[in-house]
């Protein structure tokens, strides 16, 4: 007989109170549900019992603050009878001064508004461009209207062209230099028939120690270099809002000097009797140098005071000079000095410098004004060489050393006037410095700084180094 499996018979197998009996699965569920939350409470209580608040940290500290990783109370100062222990500006100012940005700013954000902690081992000074745009996107200032662009969101959005390139500004330098000619092959030079000048033959940072190709040792000072030191360059025309990073002397190009870059081609010869040139110095120095040279020469060569007339110098319409001219030594020196100065002031110096003469004088007059007073000497205009074109920003040539100069300063190849501004425009910078993973850093801090370090105040140290890691001060 086949088995008879009716619903009733199947149901009769079931204990009506089966659900009251704990099964292994139910028991495991119950105990685990009790055990794990209990473990969680024990774990967090263990930290609380040891007064270790690190467990509540929202992330690792930045690199400079890594030493404070275990010392929450250094920033999270617990005020008496207050539950909250959120960090405030005072905690930051214990160690750092944070001078304001501008006197005309209408709000001063808290430190943590821009410098975000607990985001891992990041550079905490590398603030978001949005932090700057909080104000600069719609710039409001106290007092007089701002002269800065009022709507800057980031480097690619609203940032104006560099100030030096706006409004058809020209290079105020008085040195006359044709970059285009100097960058083409030059027919004659000290090292051979054809000279190909490179930018670095004239333009180098102050800290560069390599020898100059076209230097003339006669013009170099005793220490062997004619470049100003980097500190003087960086101090020149800088703004207070320049980052306080220590200078390497390689950020900016040093002014070009005659001794290092020009002297071997542009000789300052003044008379065929002498192989050397005049010093590259003020007219007074040159005048004294010339006078001394000719006096010494006259003393050594007295026969030169009697000079036969040069047949080639007979000019029609002018009275002929005597066949043999005799000078006193003083007259001869004065005449030769005047001749040399004619050459220098008219041609040699004038080729690069702007010369101006007094109201009553044009150029030295030969055989007149024998007294040779210095009032006859020209004034050489100050060169006005600018080394820092962006006083509100920093730029490091060394960081860009992998690129050829003309890839940014391309106008140098065609510039024929020294008043041409050869500074690359913002578009050139934006080629590389743009948002996105394929571009170089473009946030504001890359070039600018917020704090006006000229306004900084000295802070009083409060931490002792060894006990800091264990909570001491």
């Amino acid at each position: 007989m086949a088995r008879n499996r009716t619903t009733k018979k199947l149901a009769q197998r079931i204990d009506l109170n089966y659900f009251k009996r704990p099964t292994p699965l139910k028991r495991a569920k119950f105990w685990l549900s009790l055990l794990l939350p209990l473990l969680a409470i024990v774990w967090i209580s263990w930290y609380a019992a040891h007064k270790d608040a690190r467990v509540y940290s929202s992330g690792r500290m930045s690199e400079p603050h890594a030493i404070l990783e275990k010392e929450c109370a250094a920033c999270h100062v617990q005020k008496a009878s207050a539950f909250s222990a959120k960090p405030d500006n005072q905690a930051c100012l214990e160690c750092h001064d944070g001078p304001i940005h501008h006197a005309s700013q209408i709000t001063t954000p808290d430190c943590a508004t821009c410098h975000t902690e607990h985001r891992g081992r990041i550079n905490i000074a590398a603030v978001s461009e949005k932090s700057c745009a909080e104000c600069h996107d719609d710039l409001q200032t106290a007092g007089r209207p701002t002269r800065y662009s009022p709507h800057i969101r980031n480097f690619g959005g609203g940032h104006p062209e560099f100030a030096a390139l706006r409004d058809n500004h020209r290079d105020p330098s008085t040195i006359k230099l044709n970059h285009a000619i100097h960058l083409k092959p030059i027919r004659r030079g000290p090292t051979g028939p054809i000279v190909h000048l490179d930018c670095a033959d004239c333009h180098r940072p102050a800290a560069a120690k390599t020898s100059w190709t076209y230097a003339d040792a006669n013009y170099l000072p005793i220490n062997g270099t004619a470049s100003p030191d980097s500190r003087s360059i960086n101090a020149h025309e800088t703004s207070s809002l320049v980052p306080r990073t220590p200078s390497t002397g390689r950020e900016l190009m040093a002014p070009v000097t005659f001794a290092n870059s020009c002297a071997s081609c542009h000789l300052l010869t003044f008379d065929k009797r002498f192989n050397e040139g005049v010093p590259h110095d003020k007219p007074e120095v040159i005048h004294a140098f010339l006078k001394k040279k000719f006096q010494d020469y006259a003393a050594a060569h007295p026969t030169e005071l009697r000079t036969p007339r040069d047949p080639d110098r007979d000019l029609t319409g002018k009275p002929l000079a005597p066949r043999i001219q005799s000078f006193t030594a003083a007259d001869w020196v004065a005449a030769k000095t005047a001749d040399a100065e004619q050459l220098l002031w008219r041609k040699t110096c004038l080729q690069c410098h702007q010369l101006s003469f007094g109201a009553n004088h044009s150029l030295p007059v030969v055989q007149q004004n024998i007294a040779q007073n210095s009032n006859a000497l020209p004034q050489i205009a100050d060169s006005h060489v600018i080394t820092r074109w962006m006083p509100h920003a920093k730029f490091d040539h060394e960081a860009h050393g992998g690129f050829t100069c003309v890839s940014c300063h391309e106008k140098a190849l065609s510039s024929s006037d020294s008043s041409d501004l050869l500074l690359p425009g913002i578009k050139t910078c934006q080629t590389c410095h743009a948002p996105g993973p394929d571009h170089a850093e473009s946030r504001c801090f890359e070039c600018h700084t917020y704090h006006d370090w000229s306004q900084r105040k000295e802070i009083t140290p409060k931490f002792n180094f060894p006990p800091l890691k264990t909570g001491g001060r």
């Binding site: 499996r5 018979k9 099964t23 699965l25 608040a53 909250s84």
Partner: protein, 314 residues
């Protein structure tokens, strides 16, 4: 619970919440100078929303423990648990700006991930396994009673064998009194002494000779009884339906025709035992994930509350 068209409203609502949250998150990140921060107003809003979803999901356990609460249908609670619990993960990721943060927050994030992933795993199993169970286990019974039903099957098989082969010295069922289902008449205390109404009626007594029953006895004692006692042992012949078919087929050729109905019953008992074994296996798949999901989610709620309080402090 099956993930089918009946969940469409919940799915659409969840997708809309996720989309709106994602848009809000991107607007907030785009306009925030410091990027996404849990402590910013928007970050806090995401945190509160995510934790509220977690709390709602956790309340399902309380709702199940107190079924007399008339706060919404159990099905609605289950669907809310499923969809809002799932949403809590992206919302909490928005809260932290996809950063896991420090020690406690990292622990919380991993607990949340484990909870949500185990929940998804469980939901998937709950979607498929009941159908497999219906198709493959027609003899399905109450899981908690599987052990008891197995004992009854063993007893039934013993009695069938003794009806055919004479006494084999098997122990009778226990005398414990239990309340059994099966209608009003079954509510009375039952005992094996009553004739074992819970066990199918014994086959008609057709005693075989010693010689005739020898193959059956050997088969029963060596193969079938060990299988009924220990069905989880896979090396046994009757654990496999195909091999069992062959084994019982061979047995029939060795036995006289009058023993065949009993052999059919024994084969049927083995089939039921196999199905109960399969039911047990499927039931474990259906519920073992809860051993991870529930304790971890409770720890998550506890630590989440601690995080919320301490975040206000720091």
């Amino acid at each position: 619970m099956r993930i089918d068209a009946s969940q469409r409203h919940w799915a659409i609502a969840s997708a809309v919440i996720l989309l709106l949250s994602a848009i809000a998150y991107h607007v907030y990140v785009y306009n925030s100078a410091l990027g996404a921060r849990g402590g910013s107003p928007a970050g806090l809003a995401f945190g509160i929303l995510g934790f509220a979803f977690m709390l709602f999901a956790a309340l399902l356990g309380a709702r199940k423990r107190v079924p007399v609460w008339r706060i919404g249908r159990a099905q609605a609670w289950m669907r809310g648990h499923l969809w809002l619990g799932l949403l809590s993960l992206p919302i909490i990721l928005f809260h932290g700006g996809f950063h896991f943060g420090g020690t406690l927050t990292r622990v919380l994030m991993w607990l949340l991930i484990i909870t949500v992933v185990s929940g998804l795993f469980g939901a998937t199993l709950q979607h498929y396994i009941p159908r497999v169970m219906t198709a493959d286990v027609p003899f399905e019974t109450v899981y908690d009673e599987i052990g008891n039903v197995r004992n009854l099957l063993l007893e039934e098989a013993d009695r069938s064998m003794e009806a055919l082969c004479g006494s084999l010295g098997f122990r009778k069922s226990s005398q414990e009194e239990i309340q059994r289902a099966g209608g009003f008449t079954a509510m009375r205390p039952m005992a094996a002494a009553t004739g074992g109404a819970a066990v199918a009626a014994a086959a008609e007594i057709l005693l075989l000779t010693e010689e005739e029953s020898a193959p059956l006895r050997r088969f029963y004692l060596n193969e079938m009884r060990p299988f009924l006692q220990r069905p989880s042992e896979r090396r046994l012949l009757l654990s496999d339906a195909g091999k069992a078919q062959v084994g019982f087929g061979g047995l029939r050729t060795l036995l006289p025709a009058r023993a065949h109905p009993t052999v059919d019953d024994l084969q049927d008992i083995c089939e039921e035992a196999r199905q109960l074994q399969k039911q047990q296996r499927l039931h474990h798949w259906l519920h073992l994930w809860l051993l991870v999901h529930i304790p971890i989610s409770l720890a998550l709620i506890v630590l989440g509350a601690v995080h919320a309080v301490m975040a206000l402090k720091y």
